[in-house]
Subunit: 220 residues, 2 copies
Amino acid sequence: MTNREFKTSLYKHLASVTKAVSHASRLEILDLLVQGIFAVEYIAKQTNLSVASASQHLQVLKNSGLVECERHGKYIYYKIAGQEVRSTWYALRKLAFKHNDEIKSLLEDFRTKRNQLEQISTDELHKKLEKGEVYLIDVRPEEEFEAGHIKNALSRPKKMLEKTLDELPKDQEIVVYCRGPLCLMADEAVLYLKYQGFKAKRMENGFTDWLAENKPLAVG
Amino acid sequence: MTNREFKTSLYKHLASVTKAVSHASRLEILDLLVQGIFAVEYIAKQTNLSVASASQHLQVLKNSGLVECERHGKYIYYKIAGQEVRSTWYALRKLAFKHNDEIKSLLEDFRTKRNQLEQISTDELHKKLEKGEVYLIDVRPEEEFEAGHIKNALSRPKKMLEKTLDELPKDQEIVVYCRGPLCLMADEAVLYLKYQGFKAKRMENGFTDWLAENKPLAVG
DNA sequence: CTAACATTCAATATTTTTATTGAATGTTTT
DNA sequence: AAAACATTCAATAAAAATATTGAATGTTAG
């Protein structure tokens, strides 16, 4: 094998990995799988895809080595192949947010809206949680809460939150979190809670960052 | 704009960034640009592409925000848009090396060959260089040496090295380096030098890592 | 000003990817 | 064993990306 052949072959295989993440739907799937381990049907629903279509995209991700799957009963659960997938996805996202003009302008009014909401950093939240000073709400879908959540958080997906409003403390500080920087669920919940007269903030970065920082978790 | 529209639009733009690196030739270009700033013709030559083809690929990279260009006289020089591009490329490479089976097996016999060559770490080399104990050779093409090289290195591209063999010290330790983990130039040079009776080693990782570690450089 | 040169643009045939549909596979439940 | 269900497979039409060619643009040198 000549040097040129070696190179061509190597870059071709590398491209099979990058090709796997070169489609909007597959990026969205990956951004979900960074949150936990999920079955095909759930992934399809969350990403607005047909099951067949989600399955095909998942095959592509699997063949490139980015995700793995395991069967439990009739369900097949997919997950990222390792921490490197998460860190690469973060690096990529950071890069795109910084250097791609369309993304920058798309995020702009999204950010200005969000900046009007009070935020609390993961570190500060961590301290307050240890002192029991905070009422912490996870607004992600129940399945994602079950796959893993911040220790001491309460699961209150949108609809459930609205139904159980009277259980919330009127005078204590309420902190809400969702998936991460691309997720809008916490913003909506905070706006809603403030409108209803609660003292609500959002956690600065979502669950993804809590995961990345190895802070205390709970499952199930 | 609904949440779904926002998401769809965002992931689509993110995919335009990942699409940009989803082609073998563009990855090879990027791997080169991580080394320095080069004109189109040079990039085309190094990557075995026609100038028109290289130019088109460069446009794709530019439009996604990954690279930038500037004109100097009749030449147009391309470079990566920022450090994030380098770190993302490293993360991606590391990921692929770890999780993609085809790449792993492709690298295997490449590695066993390389492992038979003595190596010196960047840190150790750095120390020895400060004490002047080492004769350091850069085997990359002259253009790349000029765009930036390790301080105190001598430029000896393959052909030049062969012509100036008698200038090399027979008893001093010679260290050779090239671009990085995907580059074969240093391996070849070390094999050649050892065959000619010199005490030669290769630097463990190439120039890319030296760059990433912010060790002493020189230009021109 | 003209010739030479580096790069990009434009057009298009070819190749690759994608979406969609319904059938096939494998598992659990009854 | 049959029904119900989750997922994958297979086929193919539609859409997107790519390679190739030669012309166009912009710059320098004579």
